[in-house]
Amino acid sequence: MTDAPVPRRRTLAPRLTAFWQSDLAWSFRRSPVAMVSLIVVSILTVSAVFAPLIAPHDPFNPATLNLMNGFTAPMTPNAFTGESFWLGTDDQGRDVFSTILYGMRISLFVGFSAVLFAMVLGITLGLVAGYVGGWTETIIMRVADVQLTFPAILVAMLIFGIAKGFTPVEYRDQMAIWVLILAIGLSDWVQFARVVRGATLVEKGKEYVQAAQLIGRSSPAIMLRHILPNVLSPVLVIATISLALAIIAEATLSFLGVGAPPTQPSLGTLIRIGQGFLFSGEWWILFFPACTLLALALSVNLLGDWLRDALNPKLR
């Protein structure tokens, strides 16, 4: 519009150009799978975040529900009320499209939070194990080894069960989401810790770390400011793949009835509800949440695969 200086742009534009010309962006532009995956993930994430704005109905407000709308098939007007729903309604007359948007919100929230938790825990323990060494390292890595022998989903179930047991009865439904994040996060930290420890052991011997030690920086400062930035790229790959696994783990636990409560249904809970109508012919209650879960998990997974190949120097 005018020549008025826009301060942010001056710093942002060169950065964007630099990013666009980086190896990562180059490999992204050459991978149609990665592009499609990113588009799918972005659309799903954005629609989950803005669910209250996008969803045509509020599935959790009993005042807006009409039981007469129950079991409306997709795209066909209801026999009693004449209302029409894109993806149909469930037994209580809730719009399936809206429940999916809200369910995806829970699924993505739990997935992201669990991976974040696992990442912070794993990176911290991995850095400490790699940098400090000795007994600390032995104990951390032994615990990691033992946990790795159990399937992650089983660990998550056990932690969920134990944590649920310790939560007072009256808070159990409210706390279920947080317990779920704790359970999935704790079942997933090992991957991060192992990779970070390995990378830290390599970095520890390099000269820049010795230099930092010589000028008297404290150990936490060396770990966080000097070593951490150099071990982050494998962490990014693991985080993406973990996100897909966490979303599936959350869906599995909720499907089994030991995850998100019916008052805050995630995609897994919706599939669990939909399975009950498989025999009576209301296929849409099950089909659409299942497809959404698949699209979400698959595209995050493909994105992770691409990232792993793109960041792997051996494959360049």
């Binding site: 159990f150 399937p151 499907f255 009835g257 030991v258 498989l278 698949l294 998990a297």
Partner: protein, 325 residues
Amino acid sequence: MLNYIIRRVFQSVLVLLVVGLVAFSMFRFVGDPIDNMLGQERTQADIERLRTQLGLDQPFPVQYLKFLEGAAQGNFGVSYRQGRPVAEIIAERAPATLELAAVSGFFAIFFGIVLGVFTAIRRDGWASNVIMTVSLIGVSLPTFLIGILLIYIFSVELDMLPSFGRGEVVDLGGWTTGFLTASGLKALILPSITLGLYQMTLIMRLVRAEMLEVLRQDYINFARARGLSERVVNFRHALKNTLVPVITVTGLQLGSIIAFAIITETVFQWPGVGLLFINAIQFVDIPVMAAYLMLISVMFVGINLAVDLLYVAIDPRLRSEGGTV
């Protein structure tokens, strides 16, 4: 080597002790066991009597030791929900899970090896490509969705196979089996495929990779040069040498089958130990959860110990370095 074995066994025992401590803490600190066991009408004398009877008046380490002693003898207390001894309930449910695991394990190994060999021999054929692509989709589908998909195709649309339960079972003195009736066998098909599919793709990919590696070796070329038939070369010479890693992975996957049986059993309402465990979590039935936790840990730790010790027996390199591992 002896040093290594002792350390490994010691580690396993330590892990089990820690798991036992977790299980015991659940018992001791989640809710009040006395509240859970006595009804509304109780007197102070009842509470005192039960407290002494359960040993809750003794110090923590003594209680823990007593708990371990009981657990080692298979005594995990009484289920809060069903009011029966946990050991009894698990013994009643175990045959269902074990039969399911056995059938799906067999399915996974048999078809995994057959398809693995097939895709390795015809590596560029269209059938191999189809199998590999389908297996990739199979791995990325969550187990419970595979189960629902199979129910939809074979129970809802085709109406060929039952979608839940074990069908008719025959009681063979404490062991109920579904192998002896037609409905029992039919009921096994869908759950075993659901449970075994993932392991099957895993074995298939492993066999394929190993076969491709072995088929490039000189001795295979020599065998061909000697004029042996393709079948003898592929199965007698090549397949045999791919089986060592396959056996190891299969052994390690054994525990996973039992663990993933939880999901399959819930989808198909299969009356096994996994479904029992899920219900226990839902209703916070601590004794059942603790017992399952202990059982599955003993199994996993046992399998891993056995595999590690087998490695030492098979691989001489580990034996010489054993002391420093």
